[in-house]
């Protein structure tokens, strides 16, 4: 470090060393080195297993049966989503938007409270990488052994271990791909078609894509996906504020760091509590040093907390040198309650709205839908008897699983239109759209306007309350 010159001219004599001092510890791993993270037990490790097990639903869910069919089936080919008793047709696809809003807001709310909880505990990239590295550890041994094996010359043992590892990885990828496709067609039939090699091309392509990307992402790219491929990584970073609790190294307590000499009392030493054992770095799945503070590479998985706590226990110092704590807290500012934080409240408010929307949507799916298209070519026709005729195409959607007979009535106009060209009741097949052409006629002596509103109502013959309404227009020559 050079000393600063007196009377410096700021533009001419910039102290470059000082300017770049910050960058001394910068180290961006762009994939040239493989992170071999150490595994150790602890509170957050256990928590991580519980949160990761949510993905069992992904693998097991398709086999769940309900009323003789697959409980959850996203039947794209027939354009129907079955979720237990509910059937969702494309007309109700707005619900999907509400569901997406819900998860987006949930991500926001959770992130602003406790950081990248999704990344650290739930994200498939994190979970699959965790499983892949677990297999790696079982087959190849500790991080040091793994690094040695990577450098070792190829021999029979290395080949055997590597072949088994990559085989298992690809197998997991394959299972991931197959499980994904099972949500979109009957699970058992899909398995049959896979085993007899008769599955449709789109299924093979999907499985292949998932297998390849699972293998590459969880096997090779790992933290690189989080560092530069994933948009959520950066999106979540901007959701933090000073009250967000994050895995944080207590600088005041830890520094100055220094090795603990043998047979010295850690209680009485002049250095800080950090003994620079680098275990927090060794366990980090993305290979960052949390002691440099919060950074883009940190997926807030809490594994460094486990590591540091274990060391603190050993040297008989209190736990929590690295802990989930907010910036305000560590700076001694008063801790705000959740309801005092506008950002959290905002997320929660939208969350509540989206939940309400989902509930309303699911309970108001209805069983009949109607849309009416008015013929524009010609807009109207004058008949021989002087009456004015308009043509309409009606599309009636029967959302129930039984055939339905429907009747049509036309109201909403001061005139008395008569319905022609239709023989009631119309039959509409279950889950299907029936298209019907009708003509409305109003006597020319009666109708002198350019247009009037007409309201079409279709109703179930058996139950008048099951109905759908559509407002359209009736046109005339206007003189």
């Amino acid at each position: 470090m050079s000393s600063k010159p007196e009377n410096q001219n700021k533009t001419d004599h910039i102290d470059h060393e000082a300017l770049y001092e910050d960058a001394d510890y910068w180290h961006v791993n762009t994939g040239e080195e493989t992170i071999h993270a150490k595994r150790m037990p602890g509170r957050f490790r256990t928590l991580k297993w519980w949160s990761a097990s949510i993905w069992l639903i992904f693998f097991l869910g398709p086999y769940l049966r309900w009323d003789g069919h697959q409980a959850i089936l996203f039947d794209i080919a027939n354009r129907k989503f079955h979720i237990f008793d509910i059937t969702i047709l494309p007309q109700d696809v707005w619900l999907l938007a509400v569901v997406m809003l819900f998860f987006a807001m949930l991500l926001g709310a959770v992130t602003s409270v406790a950081g990248r909880v999704f990344c650290g505990y739930f994200c498939f990239q994190t979970v699959w990488t965790d499983i892949f590295t677990l297999l790696e550890e079982k087959l190849e041994g500790s991080p040091a052994q793994r690094a040695r094996l990577d450098k070792a010359p190829w021999n029979a043992r290395k080949i055997r271990i590597k072949v088994i590892k990559h085989f298992l990885w690809i197998l997991i990828g394959l299972l991931t791909g197959i499980s994904f496709t099972l949500w979109f067609a009957d699970a058992y039939q899909m398995w049959e078609s896979y085993l007899t090699l008769t599955a449709p091309l789109v299924a093979w392509v999907t499985v292949a894509t998932f297998t390849v990307f699972t293998y590459i992402f969880a096997g090779f790219m790992r933290e690189q996906v989080c560092l530069w491929l994933c948009p959520y990584c950066r999106i979540q970073g901007v959701m933090y504020d000073c009250e967000t609790i994050l895995p944080t190294y207590d600088v005041k307590r830890g520094e100055p760091r220094g090795k603990l000499k043998k047979n010295t009392d850690p209680q009485g030493r002049e250095l800080g509590d950090c003994i620079d054992c680098k275990l927090c770095v060794a366990v980090c799945p993305t290979g960052v040093d949390i002691r440099h503070g919060q950074q883009e590479g940190c997926i807030t998985c809490g594994l460094c907390l486990d590591a540091c706590d274990s060391i603190m226990d050993k040297i008989h110092r209190p736990r929590g040198l690295i802990s989930y704590i907010s910036l305000d807290e560590i700076n001694g500012k008063p801790k705000l309650k959740l309801f005092q934080r506008p950002r959290v409240l905002g997320f929660l408010a939208i969350l509540v709205v989206s939940v309400a929307g989902m509930l309303w949507g699911v309970t108001h799916l209805g069983s009949l839908e109607l849309s009416v298209i008015h013929e524009r070519q010609p807009l109207y026709v004058i008949q021989s008897d002087g009456s004015i005729q308009n043509k309409y195409e009606l599309k009636v959607l029967n959302k129930t699983d039984k055939p339905m007979d429907v009747d049509l009535t036309v109201t909403g106009t001061p005139y008395t239109p008569t319905i022609h060209g239709a023989t009631m009741p119309w039959k509409v097949a279950p889950g299907d759209v029936g298209a019907f052409t009708v003509f409305l006629r109003i006597p020319g002596s009666e109708f002198k306007q350019e247009r009037t509103t007409v309201v079409f109502t279709v109703s179930d013959v058996e139950d008048e309350n099951v109905k759908a309404v559509y407002e359209s227009m009736f046109f005339g020559p206007g003189h």
Binding site: I14, H16, L19, Y20, A23, D24, H27, T30, G31, E32, E375, R376, Q377, P378, V381, I382, Q383, S384, D385, G386, Q389, K391, G421, A435, T437, F439, G444
Partner: protein
């Protein structure tokens, strides 16, 4: 000083600024990127072998797969035609009125009829049969020759040619005005005695009928409704028709009213489809 801003000790180009604080390092592109480039290059070669690709002076390389866009189009077309085949086979055997009675077939025919109508008929009759000046509306229930399905089919097959003699030479100006007022009055419900007399003595009812409602056998117009074969339905236009007639060879200014025969332009199946489509436009009887 250890070079701690260049952890990998990458060589530089020798370009440096600010006393070496800014340097241009010779970093290799990442491995995955180079792999992607080589794979792309290999794919280009494979593509060139498989597909038509390299332009030659008068020709191009065909590729070993023999793929062409037109072949793909024809294969797709074949697929569609296979889907249509069962319907088409039925339509071929059935009469137009039988097709109309079958709800599934008639809605199939309505769709393919719409395309045919757009190609063959809409130029004169307007899309949706909305009509054009000088060409009849097909969506209303006023028919010159009849609006039942068989008649519509016959009109398309054989065509129609209207006929009305020009009265401009045989009537005085006064008589012409009178009969015009009489005809206009028929639709509006007013009476014109002098015009009625002219109508009677000129034998107009011989074609248009005693009640002036037209005779479909001859294709003569119904004069009592507000729908006019030659639009607009003004006194001036009616007078012109009476004076110059329709398709009267002796009057160079006569009205033209010819519907061509489509017997040799369309197949029987196509004519059946069009008949059903026209019938369902709104005026079929």
């Amino acid at each position: 000083m250890s070079d701690n801003k260049n952890a990998n000790q990458t060589p530089d180009t020798g370009h440096s600024w600010d006393d070496g604080a800014l340097r241009e390092l010779l970093n290799e592109p990442p491995g995955w990127w180079k792999l992607g480039m080589w794979v792309s290059l290999a794919w280009v070669l494979v593509y060139f072998i498989l597909y038509p690709s390299i332009p030659l002076a008068t020709d191009f390389t065909k590729g070993v797969m023999g793929w062409t866009a037109i072949k793909e189009y024809k294969a797709d077309l074949k697929e569609v035609e296979e889907l249509r085949a069962p319907y088409e086979a039925k339509i071929k055997k059935m009469s137009a009125s039988a097709i109309l009675a079958d709800s599934e077939l008639s809605s199939y025919v309505e769709k393919s009829g719409k395309v045919l109508f757009g190609d063959r008929c809409a130029a004169c009759h307007g899309s949706g049969g909305a009509g054009n000046p000088g060409f009849p509306v097909l969506a209303d229930d006023d028919w010159l020759y009849g609006g039942d399905i068989n008649t519509i089919e016959a009109s398309i097959t054989d065509g129609r040619e209207g006929g009305m003699p020009a009265f401009g030479g045989s009537l005085s100006a006064q008589q012409l005005d009178d009969v015009t007022q009489f005809v206009i009055g028929l639709a509006q419900g007013t009476k014109h005695a002098a015009g009625a007399a002219v109508f009677e003595e000129q034998g107009c009812s011989g074609c248009h009928g005693e009640d002036a409602k037209g005779v479909t056998f001859m294709g003569s117009a119904n004069l009592t409704d507000g729908i006019y074969r030659f639009t607009p339905g003004t006194a001036e236009s009616v007078k012109y028709t009476i004076a110059h007639g329709v398709n009267d060879g002796s009057d160079p200014e006569t009205r033209n009213a010819v519907m061509p025969s489509f017997a040799d332009k369309l197949t029987e199946t196509e004519i059946k489809k069009l008949a059903v489509y026209v019938y369902k436009l709104g005026g079929g009887q």
